[in-house]
Amino acid sequence: MSILWQVGILFSICLAAQGIAALLPFAFPASVLAMLLVFLLLLSGIIRIRHIKELATWFSQNMGFLFVPACVEVMDYFDLIAENLIPILVIGVVTTLLVFAVTGWTVKALMRLQQRRGEKLHG
């Protein structure tokens, strides 16, 4: 499908997400809602992969580029970051390792549980 149509479809979904987010009684980022909508619309077959493929792939592959201007603004907060450097670093490192371990072990335990149940059913 032509890029113009892809832009039309993806941006319409974003617009719809923005509308739904405004109606929700709690704060929910419109962008994440749009992500969910894209997934659900594809799942239900209302839109097909080819309707947004090139555009969505381009966005996913260049996500890093899109954040460059936001990152540059870090220079306005050098003082605040320097002031809190130790907590930021400690929290950044410790919690990342913790999330890695907990996620990995949870998945492993869940799979073992499922396997055991499967054996009971079929064995």
Binding site: S31, V32, F39, L43, K53, G64, F100, W105
Partner: protein, 230 residues
């Protein structure tokens, strides 16, 4: 001169040029530490500090790029759908793992913020630090944080995971389980980690990619409760 520099084209051209330089360096060095986004950011900050050109000029173009993060985040929905078959096959481990990962991230950050005695703004900025920037920034903003602090913390998590993922997987005895390894990488270090995960194996890459969106979604759900924590 100001007329030229205050045109949005200036900021966009500068961003593209420095990012292209970053991609080139990344290909030469082949290490996750040489992240194109980090290189572009460093080059641009150095440029603006040296020349004294006000950042407002750059932001005329920067705002246009910033706006595109919205449809780009929506695009993550396609990659979840593209991995739908693996998701369906491993539904319980994926959902359970991502939920556990998101909960661990939120509560361990909260606990450490209290321990360090950080204020509300700082805590709100750090809470979403385990998810991809596109999801972390709106969570930070809706709770009154500073998105640039969030970005720094997100980058630390991403870089750490991208560099250490293969070793962590071994040390934590996960290397015999590709689903567990992939989800652990995606939940702890989002897109940056996924670039390493893709190189470790197809299943690991797919799982890590799935975790970006799903763990992000769970974190958004927890974020609804953030106002009560802060």
């Amino acid at each position: 001169m100001a007329e030229v520099l205050s045109n949005p084209v200036f900021g966009i051209a500068m961003s593209v040029a420095t990012y292209a330089a970053g991609v080139w360096v990344n290909k030469k060095l082949k290490t996750p530490l040489a992240n194109p986004m980090l290189i572009a950011t460093a080059l641009l900050i150095a440029f603006f500090l040296l020349t004294g050109i006000p950042l407002e000029y750059f932001n005329e173009g920067g705002d246009i790029i910033n706006f595109l993060i919205f449809p780009a985040t929506a695009s993550i929905g396609l990659s979840i759908y593209a991995n739908y078959e693996v998701l369906k096959k491993n539904l319980v481990p994926v959902l359970g793992g991502c939920l556990a990962g998101a909960a661990t991230a939120v509560f361990s950050v909260l606990g450490l913020c209290r321990l360090f005695g950080l204020d509300e703004t700082m805590t709100a900025s750090l809470l979403p630090k385990s998810v991809t920037t596109a999801i972390a920034v709106p969570i930070c903003e809706q709770n009154g944080g500073i998105s640039q602090i969030t970005i720094v913390a997100v980058m630390i998590a991403g870089t750490l995971g991208a560099v250490l993922a293969p070793s962590l997987s071994r040390w934590l005895h996960l290397s015999d389980n590709e689903v567990a390894t992939g989800l652990a990488i995606g939940c702890s270090s989002h897109a940056a980690g996924t670039s390493t995960a893709v190189k470790m194996g197809e299943t690991i890459g797919a799982m890590s990619g799935l975790a970006i969106g799903i763990c992000g979604f769970f974190t958004v759900l927890f974020a609804i409760l953030f106002p009560y924590f802060l």
